[in-house]
Amino acid sequence: MSSMTAPNHSDPSSIGGHLRVLEWRGSDPDLLEEVVSGSHGAAERLFERFAPDINRVVWKLLGADAEHDDIVHDIFVIVWRLMSAGRVSKPESLASWVVAVAVHTVQKEIRKRSVRRRLLGLEKPNMPTSETLDVESRDLLARVYEILDGLPAAERIAFSLRYLDQRSLAEVAELTECSLATAKRRIKRAEQRFTTHAQRYPDVAQLVSRSALGDDP
């Protein structure tokens, strides 16, 4: 997650021969200022800046979930509200903060679904619904995410950030707001549970079997 690049002024365009339009320029702290000030167009700039990051995280953590767009919208609403209220204490870390909000929101959703399944016993695990996949790939993904649905939320998030979103341990700790040791512990436990549950599905078990030998750094 990198901050926006340094100011980028393109040649301003003329309007009616009298005015010149100033192009947006600035880093994430500048964007925060725009949102806090309620500047015209700030919402759109916020979306442009963080839609890729938020979509990526939700897509990876939940798979091609049927409620993906609703969850992304919820995250943007939360981010917008908190930014507008001046709740960002480190403007220079805005990108990390936004992704952390996304992770937190997804974790809450995972817990909610887990409770619904336990209490109501009616809802099947949410299967990836990407229509671009072939049957075999879709089935494999469905099994992976079914296994993930069986993990405790905090462990699933840490595991998914680490391996599915390919984050470093430090990033996992930062995004889940825990210590590095805690992040490592959660990931390790998730690995053990995942390996155990994967025994139901030979193809998945075979895929992760080498990690059970302790070769994971």
Partner: protein, 393 residues
């Protein structure tokens, strides 16, 4: 690669990314959400609190100006929590609400007799005044984290802490904006989303497709808002110097004119006496108008005169970009390891060492970059310089 790494690669390759069409729908939905003010559960209206003098805003017809954020990088970013006042949603009419009307503490407005506007202060949103017609003069005290938005017709005026006037004629759609103290940003209508900035002493008029600039003397900071009985109230304004020409041109995005004006005023003199934010703007004027030598002169002056400031560090980053020199990126990273350009500087450092024919330092920089930004835009380059595939960890 561990089994779980393989799992991650498999998911990455199989799952892909959300289709672009979904992002468009997400954007539409989010922008629709932010366009609707969120009104909290019904509460009694709080009495308006008079706002201390600091910014007087006169809202005239049709236009909304955006407030310009502070240019000083040394000023703390408005990130502190500001206790929001009680939500309010109130209609004001000049014929009924006479004299100084306090919207909330620190915000006073005076309406012309025919003016009618709606003032809203809603949770999680900047306070807003929507002018249906007539003239409003306002005096607003700047509060960290809170900026006012005035809407009139197709325009938006955002105010930090300013004295200005806005006249809106809904029949003709004509809009006049005049800044007497501070700064405002006008956007929307013919100006587009980003709009323009008006400093003290500048005026703006929009009528149909035509927009024009003018100048008028700004107010002294201690002036009071006085209601004018006529249809267009005016305030006695003592003659004062207008904003520097190079700054006005810079704010309009006319960087060549800004540099030319600065040359007329004495570039060396400016470089020696401007404050950090203005000197940074002067450097940008030179850089963006293509004058590398003048840009370098201004940036080096920033480095020498304002040691330890964010402006000075930013100058180092820009010097690195201009020259492709590793030492400036190293300097920035030493001074601002968590700064807003840190990621970019770390990546450009890899490129700079490579381009300078220093593979050893390029690899060291690549290792550092990957340790901090494993999925950053320079990750592929870093991996290639280290001679290992992207997925290897």
């Amino acid at each position: 690669m561990s089994g779980f790494d393989r799992l991650g690669s498999l998911v990455e390759g199989t799952l892909g990314a959300p289709p672009a069409s979904r992002l468009e729908e997400q954007r539409r939905r989010f922008l629709a959400h932010t366009a609707v003010p969120v009104v909290t559960s019904s509460r009694r209206w709080s009495p308006w609190l008079l706002v201390a003098a600091g910014v007087a805003v006169v809202l005239t017809a049709g236009g909304v100006a955006e407030m310009v954020r502070s240019k000083s990088p040394e000023a703390p970013v408005a990130s502190a929590r500001v206790e929001a006042p009680e939500p309010y949603d109130r209609w004001l009419e000049g014929g009924r609400d006479t004299g100084n009307v306090e919207l909330i503490k620190g915000a006073v407005v005076v309406l012309s007799r025919e003016a009618r506007c709606r003032a809203q202060g809603l949770r999680g949103a900047a306070p807003r005044v929507t002018l249906e017609g007539g003239r409003v003069e306002a005096d607003l005290t700047p509060v960290p984290g809170r900026r006012w938005t005035f809407l009139a017709g197709a325009y938006q005026i955002v105010v930090l802490g300013t004295a200005f006037s806005i006249d809106y004629d809904p029949a003709s759609g004509a809009l006049d904006v005049g800044v007497r103290r501070g700064r405002v940003r006008v956007g929307g209508g013919e100006l587009g989303a980003n709009g323009i900035t008006l400093d003290a002493g500048q005026t703006f008029r929009a009528e149909g497709k035509s927009v024009t600039f003018g100048a008028e003397p700004p107010l002294p900071s201690s002036s009071a808002v006085v209601r004018d009985e006529g249809p267009k109230p005016s305030v006695v304004r003592p003659a004062q110097a207008a904003a520097p020409q190079w700054r006005a041109a810079f704010e309009n995005g006319d960087y060549a004119s800004a540099l030319a004006a600065a040359e007329l005023e004495g570039f060396e003199s400016l470089v020696g006496r401007l404050g950090p934010s203005e000197l940074s703007d002067l450097a940008d004027s030179a850089r963006l108008s293509g004058s590398s030598s003048r840009a370098r002169q201004a940036l080096l002056s920033l480095r020498g005169r304002f040691v330890g400031t964010q402006s000075a560090s930013r100058a180092a980053f820009l010097l690195g970009r201009m020259e492709g020199s590793p030492r400036w990126f190293e300097t920035y990273l030493q001074e601002q390891p968590q700064g807003p350009y840190a990621a970019e500087a770390a990546g450009r450092l890899v490129v700079a060492y490579r381009d300078h024919g220093d593979p050893g330092r390029a690899q060291t920089a690549a290792e550092r970059y990957l340790a901090q930004y494993p999925t950053g835009p320079y990750a592929d380059l870093a991996h290639s310089l280290l001679g290992r595939p992207r997925s290897g960890r």
